[in-house]
């Protein structure tokens, strides 16, 4: 590990820590989120309560988990509109299976396998049939939610069989004061951050997003890789679906509706470049955090939540505009 330390030192000397940090979009987004938190702490006596912070950290974890998967897709030059529907499909698979008496673990594995299969179908149509990602995943958005309806007969499920309490504990419980979805998020962020930087899979993902033709010419298995990227995205949505089922204690077929928009917003605000080639796991988390803080602050300040979309929309445009300016300067 000495080499990485040398590298880090070298890089700092190369550019200067502060200017390096300030050239990163994450830095500014994080600063905005921190500022908003500070302002809320001073302006309200409801924000900095344990209860509220617990809720904020749990709520944002679901979006952040999927935003990490979305970042992989966006950084490879694609898009995945089907994540919200994969959330409900995964939640429906686990809840119907548990309702009919299966154990949590078996049901969870099946839910994740179904999510992976959805990702594999997306990826195969995009990579091998050469169809646009937007169209394929838009179709899947519709198809996967419909499958969830068929599966549950469009009924609400709130009885989860013998492992009922385990599911509720995993999705809705906490350990050492931190909600469980946050642990899942932290683990996923660390693993993905590592994979993006230190593995061939990560390197190839960014190469494909940067110049797909060059990636193909250098012998990178571009098609196979794309399939795995969409599978990864669906996998994160599957995880979120399981956790959300446990958190809510009931599953209905409108779970995760329109979630893809929030997730894409989080990824883009966190620095994922819709043109491909850029994005980080931490960025996705910070983007999701900012969105949740905004949402929470509107509620606490007594502003109609109808304004939420306006704020998030503005942030997306500002984030992308910021990126443009940065690229123009180069």
């Amino acid at each position: 590990m000495t080499s990485t330390l040398d590298q880090a030192i070298d890089q700092i000397q190369h550019r200067g820590t502060l200017s390096r940090m300030m050239s990163h979009q994450i830095f500014w987004v994080f600063a905005a989120a921190v500022l908003a938190c500070l302002a809320l702490t001073l302006m309200t006596d409801t924000f900095a309560t344990e209860r509220n912070l617990f809720n904020v950290s749990r709520n944002f974890a679901f979006v952040a988990i999927i935003a990490i998967g979305m970042t992989a897709v966006i950084a490879s030059g694609g898009i995945d509109l089907s994540v919200g529907s994969v959330v409900v499909l995964s939640a429906m698979v686990i809840s119907t299976m548990m309702e009919s008496g299966n154990s949590f673990w078996l049901s969870a594995i099946c839910a994740l396998l179904v999510a992976l299969a959805v990702g594999a179908i997306n990826g195969t149509l995009i990579a091998y049939a050469g169809m646009p990602a937007f169209v394929v995943t838009l179709g899947m958005l519709s198809a996967a939610r419909s499958a969830a309806m068929v599966l549950s007969n469009n009924k609400m499920i709130w009885e989860f069989g013998p492992d009922h309490d385990l599911l509720l504990w995993i999705g809705g419980g906490s350990t050492l004061g931190l909600p469980h979805p946050l642990y899942a998020l932290i683990a996923l962020t660390l693993v993905t951050g590592f994979v993006f930087r230190w593995t061939r899979w990560g390197q190839y993902l960014f190469a494909i997003g940067g110049n797909e033709q060059a990636a193909t010419l250098t012998g990178i298995p571009v098609k196979r890789l794309k399939v795995t990227i969409y599978m990864f995205s669906a996998f994160t949505a599957g995880i979120a679906g399981i956790l959300m089922a446990g958190w809510l204690g009931s599953v209905t077929t409108n779970l995760g509706q329109a979630m893809e928009l929030t997730v894409i917003a989080a990824a883009v605000i966190g620095g994922a470049n819709l043109a491909g080639g850029e994005g980080t796991a931490t960025g996705a988390v910070v983007g999701a955090l900012l969105i949740e803080v905004i949402r929470n602050s509107l509620i606490l300040l007594g502003i109609s939540t109808f304004w939420q979309g306006m704020f998030i929309g503005t942030f997306i445009v500002v984030a992308v505009g910021f990126d443009r300016v940065r690229h123009m300067r180069n």
Binding site: S3, T4, D6, A207, N211, A214
Partner: protein, 246 residues
């Protein structure tokens, strides 16, 4: 003994004869300037050598042993590397990552293979030094000048210690100063005993570096001789057909 020897290479696409009975030899450390009008078959010849196309007829020998390439990796394994016209670089990655793209250096950490950036930086710094280029391994390609980008594309070919480097119009879309840099890079390759096939439309470039000139006209080779025995006027005549053959 020639490094690469083509005998009677013919390549047809249906009714189009892109190459007809082309026989050509390249020695080790020789720079071959390949010229011809648009559609003369230059790119097709390069693609046959690089394993992108199988020739319809004819044979290829390297160092006096017959070779057959079914896929580009076969040619790569035999020591043939290509610099593509648009350079095929990823702007969002560093110089070192581009040099190693598709064949990253890795090391084992427990059960997983991680990319060995230290090794990649060290090796590519060595390659850039060898090319006397000021390109830095950690810099993003996006921020580089045209000349540095060329150096990255050429350093990539050097990674596997190639015997032959094929360059299809590397100087087509760059400034005069950058052209001079590329010509310098080509001389460095030659000095290391690497054979270079340079396709270019620019007569002065070709005569500045080529040891040997070959001209294709409508798929047939109309000349292949030492540059010193030819002249830009003769080559122009051969390309247009004003001179039948030389």
């Amino acid at each position: 003994m020639s490094r690469l020897s083509l005998k009677g290479i013919t390549k047809s696409f249906g009714a189009i004869h892109a190459l007809e009975n082309v026989s050509l030899d390249i020695a080790a450390g020789e720079v071959l300037g390949l010229m011809g009008d648009n559609g003369a078959g230059k790119s097709t010849l390069v693609k046959v050598i690089a394993g992108n196309f199988r020739p319809t007829r004819g044979e290829m020998r390297m160092d006096d042993r017959p070779v057959e390439f079914h896929r580009p990796v076969d040619a790569q394994r035999a020591g043939i590397e290509v610099v593509y016209q648009d350079l095929a670089l990823c702007d969002n990655l560093t110089a070192a990552s581009n040099v190693f793209l598709g064949r990253e250096a890795t090391r084992r950490v427990g059960p997983i293979k991680v990319i060995d950036y230290a090794e990649m930086h060290r090796t590519s710094a060595g390659l850039f030094r060898q090319l006397k280029s000021e390109t830095r391994p950690r810099d993003l390609v996006r921020k580089m000048s045209g000349g540095q980008r060329q150096a990255v594309a050429i350093a990539r070919t050097l990674l596997s210690k190639p015997k032959i480097v094929l360059m299809d119009e590397p100087t087509a879309a760059i400034s005069v100063r950058q052209v001079a840099e590329v010509l310098d890079l080509i001389r460095r390759l030659r000095d290391q005993g690497i054979s270079v096939v340079l396709i270019s439309h620019r007569m002065p470039d070709v005569f500045a570096v080529a040891d040997k000139i070959a001209v294709l006209r409508r798929g047939s080779l109309v000349t292949a001789k030492p540059a010193a025995h030819s002249s830009p006027e003769e080559v122009t005549g051969l390309i247009t057909g004003a001179i039948e053959a030389a």
